[in-house]
């Protein structure tokens, strides 16, 4: 296979970065992360990139390949055009540490503020619970999340409007939905979803769903159901009326 040009964004901040071109040989079966490693070996030993598993499971190697948020280790070279330079950039919605590495710690802070799992009293005297598979089917989809934060990166509320202070982002709606829909959970997070996580900023453009490497149907299965639950509690005039007349409920 031929020599391919990679146009890699380098720098220690987004504001102060530049593209540098590197050539390397591509052989059959290579993924973009292999090419980056080869470039480190051949011509740029100081090129920073983060990775761990090379199996699409640790969520470390998130980047933007030809402008699309992808895992570098899961993007095969034969799926992208190589007759023109392949651009590789770091995620844009988080501060850059260096080259392809960004600081995603904001996500961990946000997650800490979401109310934790609060199970009902154990079903059995030995302190265990009983659940039916059918009751956890929905939640299991959300548990596939590898926290690559590609969905956060592509979401325009963070990426373009920088609402990091107000908006928790799709990854955290997936997390909240997993807790809210859990058959054992007794906590109520709906008010927080509206007022703290500000789900109203999401305009359901589904970019998060499109980039999720775990194929989680983020918008349809997590965000919209949460928006509907917020609707039940805050935007349904008839339900509000019922609540006035049946206060205890």
């Amino acid at each position: 296979m031929p020599q391919v040009t990679f146009r890699i964004s380098r720098g220690s901040t987004h504001q102060d970065s530049q593209f540098v071109d590197y050539q390397t040989d591509i052989t059959e079966g290579m993924v973009v992360l292999d090419a980056v490693h080869q470039i480190q070996e051949e011509s740029a030993p100081d090129l920073a990139c983060r990775w761990n598993c090379k199996a699409g499971k640790c969520g470390s190697c998130s980047a933007e390949i030809n402008g699309k948020p992808r895992l570098m280790c899961m993007t095969r070279m034969d799926t992208i055009p190589t007759d023109q330079p392949v651009t590789i950039e770091p995620m844009k919605a988080f501060p850059r540490i260096r080259d392809l590495v960004t600081d995603v710690s904001w996500n961990y802070e946000v997650k800490k503020r979401i109310k934790k799992f609060k199970p009902r009293k154990p079903d059995a005297p030995d302190g265990t619970w009983r659940m039916q598979q059918v009751d956890v089917d929905r939640v299991q989809e959300f548990r596939k999340c590898i926290e690559c934060f590609l969905c956060q990166n592509v979401c325009h509320v963070l990426r373009d409007h920088h609402k990091h202070d107000e908006f928790s982002g799709p990854r955290h709606y997936v997390y909240t939905a997993a807790l809210e829909m859990h058959p054992l959970d007794t906590e109520d997070r709906i008010k927080d979803v509206k007022d703290e996580q500000n789900i109203g900023y999401c305009n359901i453009t589904k970019c998060c769903t499109k980039v999720c490497p775990e194929h989680i149907t983020i918008t349809d299965n997590a965000i919209i159901p949460l928006k509907e639950r917020v609707g039940d509690e805050f935007y349904d005039p008839v339900r509000k009326l019922f609540r006035i007349f049946r206060p205890g409920k």
Partner: protein, 284 residues
């Protein structure tokens, strides 16, 4: 939310490293929706050619009154345009279409799929995924007026009623007036004859596509079972939820198919009524 000092550069409009034709999808959506809005607004203003024999255009159904000074078509529920309703408001003609179009119009406008689609195509919010926006400020659906998108479920209730109305219209499209008689006359005299024509099929397909769209609504999915955290012990609800979920997976496709077909059905009825198209008989 957590306060971390995140300082990121403001991206400029259209800024992207994408090399695919990212503009093509929003452009198609823009042109498609614009074409429908222009056509349906024009059709609603006509107040004529909204029925042809047994067929009633879905843009005029249910037909409460005939259009102002329009001859009886046999479809109006309450007869002629009433005296207490003005024929025009500040010079803009009022037709029977305007009495009902707010319901399907509002349903589509507040539909989760269309919202995502027109925010991209019309507002550039964003134009496509990973493409820089032209606007600096952003309020999303948190404030007036877009916070009203949350009443989608109320439009859903009307939309379900419309499915019944349009199914009735499809059934009535199988019963035609004998030659030499107007449909209104034949209906009053109860002398309608069974027959399947091309128009009958057009009117039958319409509620099927609309049903696929309406019964795959995200709000319905929530109301029918999605609000629950536990399905076990309630297999009826689970089945209903699965059915809606199944239609919901293709919601965008149903949305387009039903939209195009509503427009086409109106066009078919209109052109037959104008004598441009001939309504061929298949059976009967």
């Amino acid at each position: 939310m957590s306060r971390t000092n995140i300082s990121l550069p403001q991206r400029s409009f259209g800024e992207t490293s994408r090399i695919d034709a990212w503009w093509s999808q929003p452009l198609i959506v823009f042109l498609g929706l614009l074409a429908f809005v222009v056509y349906s607004t024009w059709a609603a203003f006509q107040g004529a050619h909204y029925s042809f024999g047994a067929y009633l255009s879905p843009m005029y159904s249910p037909l409460f009154f005939e259009a102002y000074e329009h001859a009886a078509t046999g479809h109006a529920l309450f007869g002629d345009w009433p005296k207490w309703l003005p024929a025009a408001v500040i010079g803009i003609p009022l037709t029977p279409a305007f009495l009902i179009l707010w319901a399907p119009g509002g349903f589509r406008f507040t539909c989760y799929y269309y919202r995502g689609a027109y925010y991209k195509a019309f507002w550039g919010d964003p134009s496509n995924c990973g493409v820089g926006e032209w606007r600096k400020g952003y309020r999303g659906e948190r404030w007036f007026p877009l916070v009203f998108q949350n009443i989608h479920r109320y439009f859903l209730y009307f939309a379900i009623l419309f499915i019944f109305v349009l199914t009735y219209d499809a059934f009535m499209a199988m019963w035609h007036a004998p030659d030499g008689m107007t449909y209104a006359q034949a209906k009053t005299d109860s002398v309608l004859n069974f027959g399947i024509k091309v128009g009958t099929l057009v009117l039958i397909i319409n509620p099927i596509l609309l049903g696929g769209y309406t019964f795959g609504c995200h709000s319905l999915r929530h109301l029918i079972g999605g609000f629950m955290d536990k399905f076990s012990g309630n297999s009826g609800r689970k089945k209903a939820y699965d059915c809606v979920s199944c239609l919901n997976r293709g919601h965008a496709k149903w949305a387009w198919a039903s939209l195009i077909w509503v427009g086409f059905t109106d066009l078919y009825v209109r052109l037959c009524s104008m004598g441009v198209w001939t309504d061929w008989t298949i059976i009967g």
